[in-house]
């Protein structure tokens, strides 16, 4: 019941905000967004899932399963529930949406009711993505995320917002299509044994059965491999993985900062979440086979290094953060493909951690921009004197990105590196890991450079604006995020335990397929 309540409350809030006036919408949206936030925190106290929701022998929390309609042999269902992988992301969505809404109060000054309505609508769609356990339901939410996001970029964005919005929509839709085809090849291949399209049913069908029925002339292992490739390509656009990343800088730079927070904080996690669910859980046998594992690891490492190099070349603070997201998502790929307890769980932890850290950085860049009206590193300097609190939080966020101990980024990256180093699945894992670790150095390089130029040193500014300390409602969300980052850095078990519990069965499954588990 709680998930339905969560979805319904968010949806009705969105409708309410749509009909509210532009003056009342900002505050109203913030108050209303506390409802899903409160609900998700309450659910945390009641959370009792065990195992991986997609695999046999698991306990799914807050599960609802109702027949929806019959499509040929398949029963489509309304099937929702959460496990240790999805629940932390649900909480992340509710936390980030509330904070992003509050941080929109300053920059968004036109068509407010539509803006905040769309923010709540996208929250509902995201909650749907992370809680759906039926393929069609999941896909509907998955696509439903794109439409509000398109409008948020294309209406309230920067000068090239229309181009960026259209590119985002077409790129990610194409990705969805490729992924959809890939999944349906598997569904058709499973033949008559499959009678419902719930994700657990598909996962367990794939685990148990041969793909007996040929699809497009492919059967058995070939069909699995091709479907794996299509799914991977589809999700790679979303993550994004180099070379499918070109929509990301455009979308991020043009989107207003609060929208970037949602985009980087949660939308990118849809890609890695889906990779984990589909490619690395359903088709774990393909993911662990050679040379697929090595290729994926290489793709992850390339994303880490290339993303970081691109960030190094930027002057625009927002572009720096945007490109560094590509780098961070690369770590997730490296961790997932390792198929070790720490690697996979660490990668999942990184999804949550990066959601908070990139949210913090985008938000603080937004606050700096509100005051200075520039984001170019060379155009400003010495902001620490004028807006000390914002500047110091930005510095703290940057250190979190670099992996400073006692912050969540450190935990995530250390776990990923330990896990990836031990990998038995990827041949030459230590080499891949070592190269990936070098990414940290580059991150430190560009963030320190940017901080030194923009925050410290004597005050200078190219634009003609008086700089005053940011208002409380701008800084408070930053402080909350920083607090959460430190909390997870000190006490990662708050979420890590649940994650490990859900990742464990995936690894056991992997050993079924002949990979040795250590």
């Amino acid at each position: 019941m709680l998930i339905e309540l969560l979805l319904a409350a968010t949806f009705l809030s969105a409708l309410w905000v749509f009909v509210a006036s532009d003056e009342t919408a900002p505050k109203l949206a913030a108050w209303l967004s506390l409802v899903p936030l409160g609900l998700s925190l309450y659910m945390w106290t009641q959370f009792d899932a065990a195992g991986n929701g997609l695999l046999a022998g698991s306990e799914i929390a807050f599960e609802t399963q109702i027949d929806w309609f019959q499509f040929g042999q398949y029963t489509l269902q309304y099937h929702v529930g959460v496990d240790g992988v999805s629940f932390p992301l649900v909480v992340l969505v509710t936390v980030l949406t509330t904070l992003a809404i509050i941080s929109s109060w300053t920059p968004i000054d036109e068509r407010q009711s539509q803006f905040y309505g769309l923010m709540l609508l996208i929250e509902m769609a995201l909650l749907g993505v992370f809680t759906s356990l039926d393929f069609f339901l999941w896909f509907i939410f998955w696509e439903a995320v794109l439409i509000p996001m398109y409008f948020l970029i294309a209406v309230w964005g920067g000068p090239r917002r229309k181009y960026a919005g259209a590119k985002f929509l077409l790129y990610t839709n194409l990705g969805s299509l490729v992924m959809f085809v890939g999944l349906f090849m598997l569904v058709l291949g499973l033949g008559d044994s499959l009678t419902q399209l719930s994700l657990p049913a598909i996962a367990q069908g794939l685990q148990a059965g041969e793909l007996s029925r040929p699809v497009f002339g492919l059967a058995g292992a070939d069909l699995r491999a091709v479907a794996f490739l299509l799914l991977f390509l589809g999700f790679a656009v979303k993550v994004p993985v180099v070379p499918f990343h070109t929509w990301l800088p455009d979308a991020h730079v043009q989107a207003p900062s609060p929208v970037s927070v949602i985009l980087a904080g949660v939308l990118l996690k849809m890609g890695t979440y889906a990779l984990l669910r589909f490619n690395f859980t359903m088709l774990a046998d393909v993911a662990t086979s050679s040379p697929a594992a090595e290729i994926i690891a290489a793709v992850g490492v390339v994303s880490v290094i290339y993303g970081a190099m691109l960030a190094l070349a930027q002057r625009d603070l927002k572009r720096i953060v945007a490109y560094s997201s590509i780098s961070s998502m690369g770590y997730v790929i490296v961790g997932l493909v390792a198929f070790t307890p720490h690697g996979m769980s660490g990668a999942t932890f990184q999804m949550v951690s990066h959601g908070l850290i990139s949210g913090l950085l985008f938000m603080s860049v937004g606050v700096l921009y509100n005051a200075t009206h520039t984001r170019m590193v060379g155009d400003m300097g010495g902001l620490a004197d004028k807006m000390p609190l914002t500047a110091w939080i930005f510095v703290a966020g940057s250190f979190a990105y670099m992996g400073l101990p006692l912050m969540s980024g450190f935990v995530a990256e250390v776990l990923i590196f330990i896990g990836a180093f031990d990998s038995t699945v990827v041949a030459g894992a230590p080499v891949f890991t070592a190269i990936a670790m070098f990414g940290i150095v580059i991150v430190a390089g560009y963030l320190l450079w940017a901080m030194q130029r923009a925050i410290f040193g004597p005050f200078e500014l190219e634009t003609d604006y008086d700089i005053e300390p940011a208002p409380v409602h701008d800084v408070a969300p930053l402080a909350v995020l920083l607090g959460l980052i430190i909390l997870l850095g000190i006490q990662p078990d708050l979420v890590y335990e649940a994650i490990q519990d859900a990742i464990g069965p995936v690894l056991e499954l992997n050993s079924v397929f002949g990979g040795e588990l250590r």
Partner: protein
């Protein structure tokens, strides 16, 4: 038939009779005082008549009229009327629901659109007469009734397209539609004549039997089938018989464009389904119509989508989009495997897509009616910034367009998926690929309109003062129906499959 033992068989024609009676009643109402006839009364009468017809059709459909009773097999259970000249079965009722729903929406929307129109009663009456014709087409079971019913659709349609008498575009469109339509009627009639010569019958069942028994005049039969195919292709606006459509839709009053592109197309398809699947199903050796439809389908969707990309007039974009959708639905005939078995059939998928399309396409054209009512202009640029002034209508339009593109924001997603699934499982992978690629292409021009509505700045002098109630109600109902067809799509599948089984079982 046990469910309707209390009603005589002729009552199965109830929807058509209700529409006809309303059409005549409108003329009578107008005769009382032609100078001062109340437009509210006229709209009210037409909407009521349409709703009665829709209600009857839904009631019959849900009550199981014209469906096999327990223990019967699929083609049984249909009600033959007038010696087999008409047949009421699940398919005719399914399409009657589509036609009457569209007619009701169009009648609602016309209320404000016609405010300065001098022949309102005649307009509504013609709409309802055309709807009567369409409902009769769905029930036609003989080439004679089919031809008469098609003419009953066409003649009012020509007049309706040209009904803006002072508007040059409207008159030109009407004339163009009439000339091409008259030619296609002639071809259609000639085809019927040839089939008659070859088989000695006009009644569908008799023709089916004659073909099954073998006819010595196979080449005449083949030529007749090709000509009938041409007549159907004209009605549904499939390439290469589509060139009238963009001009006629562009010139016609927008509610009429909605009516013709949704309801008239559905009527054309129902004829195509019945004639080719039911009657010519055994004549595949004479003329392989499945292959012919395969080519027409792929060419139609491709040509239409690429033409739409080049248009700048919103109505023409939607006109080409409607041609493209004819191509998608034609897959139902192009991938037909000879019989309907299993739980998912390509024929059912085509019907389900027409059902959803009836709402989303009508809604999109009604939005254009709204824009014409506001006199904002006709090109994509003229639509800039409408979203700020009319957020509700523009949100509805966004739903229609994305649903037409196949995004899961409306029933169009499921119906397209249904088509794709049935195509691929039927072994026509390449046809499925054509459908997918075309849907991607279509996203470009649908997005273009959405972008114009929301992301562009409005012209400085854009000021909307009036928000017409009737149009808003019609658009809201269409949008609601489009969205609710996602959770409620199971019902559409269920009845589409029963309908498909009535002719292909």
């Amino acid at each position: 038939m046990s469910e309707i033992t209390t009603l005589p068989n002729w009552t199965a024609l109830g929807p058509a009779l209700a529409l006809l009676a309303t059409a005549l009643a409108l003329l009578a109402v107008d005769m009382v005082d032609p100078e001062e006839s109340s437009s509210v009364l006229l709209t009210g009468t037409s909407v009521t008549g349409g709703l009665v017809a829709l209600g009857l059709a839904l009631w019959y459909l849900f009550a199981g009229t014209g469906q096999p009773a327990a223990g019967q097999e699929a083609p049984q259970g249909a009600l033959d009327l007038f010696g087999g000249a008409l047949v009421i079965d699940a398919m005719s009722l399914f399409f009657t629901v589509i036609v009457t729903s569209v007619a009701v929406l169009v009648a609602f929307a016309s209320h404000e659109y016609l405010r300065d129109h001098s022949y309102q009663a005649e307009y509504y009456s013609l709409v309802l007469l055309a709807a009567t014709g369409m409902v009769t087409v769905t029930a036609a079971n003989s080439f004679v009734t089919a031809f008469i019913a098609i003419e009953l659709v066409s003649l009012p349609s020509y007049a309706l397209v040209a009904s803006l008498k002072t508007n040059e575009g409207s008159s030109e469109a009407g004339l163009k539609y009439f000339l091409v339509g008259a030619l296609s009627s002639a071809v259609f009639a000639y085809g019927i004549a040839l089939v008659y010569v070859a088989t000695g019958s006009l009644q569908f069942d008799a023709v089916t039997t004659a073909i099954a028994d073998g006819t010595p005049f196979t080449s005449l039969l083949g030529v007749g089938m090709v000509m009938i195919l041409g007549g159907v292709a004209f009605k549904i606006a499939a390439v290469p018989f589509h060139f009238w459509a963009p001009d006629a839709y562009e010139g016609a009053p927008a509610p009429i464009s909605a009516f013709i592109s949704s309801a008239s197309k559905a009527a054309g398809f129902v004829l195509g389904f019945r004639v080719f699947v039911d009657v010519f199903g055994g004549a595949m050796g004479v003329f392989n119509w499945v292959n012919a439809f395969l080519i027409i389908s792929v060419v139609t969707m491709t040509v239409a989508n690429f033409s739409a990309l080049k248009q700048n007039n919103v109505k023409r974009i939607l006109a080409y989009s409607s041609v493209a959708h004819a191509g998608y639905v034609l897959i139902a005939l192009a991938a037909f495997t000879g019989s309907v078995d299993g739980e998912i059939s390509i024929l059912g998928a085509g019907m389900a897509h027409l059902f959803v399309y009836g709402f989303m396409n009508t809604g999109a054209f009604l939005f254009i009616a709204l824009a014409e009512h506001w006199e904002v202009g006709r090109t994509v640029e003229d639509y800039h910034g409408l979203g700020e002034q009319a957020p509700f209508a523009c949100a509805a339009m966004t739903v229609f367009l994305f649903s037409l593109a196949g995004l899961p924001i409306g029933g169009g997603f499921f119906s397209k998926f249904y088509l794709l699934f049935a195509t691929v499982t039927g072994g026509q992978g390449l046809l499925g690929a054509a459908l997918v690629i075309n849907s991607v292409v279509s996203l470009f021009y649908y997005t273009r309109i959405v972008r114009a509505l929301w992301t562009e700045d409005a012209a400085a002098d854009l000021e909307l003062t009036e928000y017409p109630t009737g149009l808003y109600i019609a658009i809201a109902v269409a949008a609601l129906a489009t969205v609710l067809l996602i959770p409620g799509f199971g019902v559409v599948i269920e009845y589409a499959e029963i309908a498909a089984r009535m002719i292909g079982g």
